[in-house]
Point group: C2
Chain length 123, copies 2
Amino acid sequence: MVDKYITADRCDCEVIHEDVVNSVRTKMPKEETLYDLAELFKVFGDSTRIRILWALDEAEMCVCDIAYLLNMTQSAISHQLRVLKQAKLVRNRREGKVVYYSLDDEHVKMIFDQGLVHINEDK
Amino acid sequence: MVDKYITADRCDCEVIHEDVVNSVRTKMPKEETLYDLAELFKVFGDSTRIRILWALDEAEMCVCDIAYLLNMTQSAISHQLRVLKQAKLVRNRREGKVVYYSLDDEHVKMIFDQGLVHINEDK
DNA sequence: TAGATATATGAATAGCTGCTCATATAAAAA
DNA sequence: TTTTTATATGAGCAGCTATTCATATATCTA
């Protein structure tokens, strides 16, 4: 069951299934990719941003529309829209004083739907 | 272009496209659902947890294996495994002193893959 | 039994994050 | 031009979170 006795720098235990670990290690994407993935999900990990994205999936809206819809301040929404823009999840266009935001990624809804599948599983 | 002039409690602006907002409002999932969705993505929004999940997607591993693989302390991994278990993303089984963890949701990989599609888009 | 080992967990803390508030900027209207 | 309005943004702060450290618990071994 147990293969070898090794001690890693940080891991403060000794029983390690080295063949399993080595096998998994070769299959892991590189650190940077997983870091980027976590950063993306971090953006999804806030209900305000989730609500904004969901709303924009239904229709293009201006900042004021979104603030009104979610009953939040314009400033709070504007800050979050910046986060979403940096993550390349939304784009905007200016029309006079009004700035309209819309979704910039057709995968967002698919990711959300997969998440909902998990949530709706009763285990 | 602009439909009506309204002022919401929090929104500190006046120009609102009321028909758009109302239409979107009827299509939005209920608040609780979107909150739960954000909570799920919050779990994915940490590179340590992402790496653990990815590793467990390759093979069942004990706490020590994971700590060794990721070069982190057993305690840090154990704390994160608890978070993942509470989110029903991993399960465990005990075999003597050793506790083995494995994925508890086949959608995780699909969600990750969708996320990677977004990341790999060069815009 | 006592000792060793794998894991779990509570407390403490440093760093992060989302909001508020005040203010800046941009564009239209007066 | 000045005023008004929509949006953007920096500073500050309260709350959260991921890790560390110490220790508890569970199980096997001697």
